[in-house]
């Protein structure tokens, strides 16, 4: 390992430390709000009149149920989004067919239309498909909205993979499916992890569409339930903060579960000596 100079190491650690403090500071306010009855003011986010009521309130049926719903929805949406986009990304990266460039551009184009104007038409669409108020409908919507980014990202990774591997697999007699599943997917683990986190979070924190599309309280996702603590006249920030903490935990767990895949690409050793 290349030695690093002490001042350099100190500087980098210092910078990371500052970034960590900045990242944590507003989160600390959320934490303080979650355990305070009264206001949290000043420079140091320290709880005033500490209380467990907000956190205890989370045990109420609807938050727990919404948590489960959200986990199911976001996980399914991430898996579906990945499945749809990884196949498309491969085809767009490798196959040469008419309409390829147009498709790629089309994926970006769908992202450029402000979502503000989309909720109502989506409602009509899902209503027409009979998927309103069904988690399946929401899963499809989230999967679809994450596909463009995922396709582009994954295509970038496919572009970077040596083509030889796929050709070798073809000569070994593997068909497209076999090549895809046995040779390519394992190599794409880092990309799938990054993209999967993105797809998951895209669904996890989404509120506007969920609130518009869902009317059955049993199908409410966590952001919808949390947002209920904000009313026309004031809001229950303590409850919102407590709920937000609950909402962040699965994300952190997911990130930890996947982070080892981010590191260390697997293409090492594929080629040459």
């Amino acid at each position: 390992m290349k030695p690093v100079s002490l001042p350099m190491a100190l500087a980098v650690h210092g910078a990371l430390l500052i970034a960590a403090v900045v990242a944590l500071y507003p989160v600390a306010w959320v934490l303080a709000m979650a355990v305070s009855v009264g206001p949290v003011t000043g420079v140091v986010p320290w709880p005033t009149e500490p209380t467990w009521t907000h956190l205890a309130g989370l045990a109420r049926g609807d938050v727990a149920a919404a948590l489960v719903t959200s986990i199911v929805v976001a996980t399914s949406a991430a898996l579906a989004g990945l499945a749809f986009s990884v196949t498309a990304a491969w085809a767009l990266a490798r196959f040469d067919f008419p309409g390829r460039d147009l498709t790629l551009a089309g994926f970006v184009a769908t992202q450029t239309f402000p979502g503000v104007v989309m909720a109502v038409p989506l409602y009509l669409m899902l209503d027409a498909l009979g998927l309103l108020d069904r988690l399946l409908g929401l899963v499809l919507v989230y999967a679809a909205t994450s596909i463009p980014f995922s396709v582009w990202t994954l295509k970038g990774w496919f572009d970077g993979l040596p083509k030889d591997l796929e050709e070798a697999a073809m000569l070994d007699g593997a068909g497209r499916f076999r090549t895809f599943f046995s040779v390519l997917l394992p190599l794409l683990r880092p990309a799938l992890a990054v993209t999967g986190v993105f797809c998951f979070l895209n669904a996890w924190n989404e509120y506007v569409l969920a609130a518009t599309l869902l009317s059955d309280p049993r199908a409410f996702t966590l952001p919808v339930v949390l947002q209920r603590s904000v009313g026309d006249y004031g809001a229950d920030w303590g409850a919102f903060a407590a709920g937000s903490i609950v909402a962040s935990l699965p994300v952190i767990v997911l990130f930890f579960a996947l982070q080892k895949h981010f590191i260390g690409g697997l293409t090492a050793g594929a080629v040459k000596g």
């Binding site: 040596p162 030889d164 591997l165 050709e167 070798a168 697999a169 073809m170 000569l171 070994d172 007699g173 593997a174 068909g175 076999r178 046995s182 040779v183 394992p186 190599l187 697997l266 293409t267 090492a268 050793g269 594929a270 080629v271 040459k272 000596g273």
Partner: protein
């Protein structure tokens, strides 16, 4: 086992034509080597045989089967890539057995085949490693093993030795020759190394700018190249080409009193292999440099208006290696000069 027959093959990338009317016959069980300068389309031809490039025109037959429209999987060919293209996430064992696994062979059969090949190639102890944990030579063996396991009719090698160090290269060259004999399959091997080409091939194919310049037994190409391009490409040092003039019966070279029979009229090259001439004291040219190569010496002779001429002398022969010399040749070929 199958012969390989290619007619009028053309491959294009967009508007650029890479292969343009390639005709080639390789006999069943032959060891064919494709040689040519970088970028002349060797890899492309190999890939077209493998089915990785779709030809714009022409036919490819393996034995009696016309294969140019078939997918690579259906062609019964194996290819060793220049980059080896080992599956980085699979152990050596799985790399070797993947083709059989894909065919749905029973586990035991795959294991037996893999182990047999591993024994042949000395990979036995490496079977459970990942490619990243292998040396370059070992990776090369795995890449070859992966082809052998399948027992295909035709083996395709794209510069299989180019990533190896010289000592290893010589070893593997011999192994390849033995392997060919043992398997009795048709080999098509791409290289840009003339030594490799002469040492291994039963049939040598020189490609020039997307066409076959000459094809035949290596000795034929060595002794009787049909173009200056082929003449220069085969043999080290390359054949000396001296500018001459043909009158339809004989060709003459300036300052030389010898003439060579030729039906050509106008400018010609008179080609002389460095090993097929000797030096006598005289005034035709001046010795410019002498390189001692162990068993031989290579003497460079210069004469104004001529390219430098290389002469290969056995080291034991006492010959003139200084001052003015005359060149006497045992054999020469006359080629068109365009």
């Amino acid at each position: 086992m199958a012969s390989l027959s290619i007619r009028g093959l053309a491959v294009r990338y967009g508007a650029t034509s890479v292969l343009d009317g390639v005709d080639l016959e390789v006999a069943d069980g032959a060891y064919a080597i494709l040689i040519g300068p970088s970028g002349c389309g060797k890899s492309t031809l190999l890939r077209a045989i493998a089915g990785l490039e779709r030809p714009a025109a022409g036919t490819i037959h393996l034995g009696d089967r016309r294969v140019d429209a078939l997918s690579p999987q259906a062609r019964d060919v194996a290819m060793v890539f220049q980059s080896y293209a080992l599956y980085p996430h699979m152990s050596v064992r799985r790399n070797l057995g993947f083709a059989l696994e894909v065919r749905g062979l029973p586990r035991a059969e795959i294991d037996a085949a893999v182990e047999a090949v591993a024994d042949q190639l000395g990979l036995r102890t490496l079977l459970d490693r990942l490619p990243a944990a292998l040396s370059g030579g070992q990776r090369q063996r795995v890449a070859m093993g992966r082809a052998i396991v399948r027992r295909p009719a035709v083996f395709l090698f794209d510069e299989p030795l180019s990533n190896l160090d010289p000592a290893l290269r010589a070893d593997v060259r011999i192994e390849l020759k033995k392997l060919h004999r043992r398997l009795g399959a048709t080999f098509v091997h791409v290289t840009h190394d003339p030594v490799e080409a002469l040492a291994l091939s039963d049939q040598l194919v020189v490609l020039e700018g997307g066409r076959v310049a000459q094809s035949g037994p290596p000795r034929e190409l060595y002794d009787a190249p049909t173009s200056a391009f082929v003449a220069r490409f085969i043999g080290t040092p390359p054949m000396n080409l001296l500018p001459g003039l043909g009158d339809g019966h004989v060709a003459r070279v300036d300052g030389w009193n010898r003439s060579f029979p030729t039906p050509l009229v106008g400018p010609v090259w008179v080609g002389v292999r460095p090993a097929e001439c000797t030096l006598t004291p005289g005034s035709w040219g001046q010795v410019d440099a002498v390189e001692w190569m162990g068993a031989e010496r290579v003497v460079t002779v210069v004469r104004p208006g001529f390219p430098p001429v290389a002469v290969q002398l056995r080291d034991r022969d006492v010959g003139i290696v200084e001052g003015g010399v005359d060149l006497s040749v045992e054999r020469a070929v006359v080629l068109a000069r365009l």
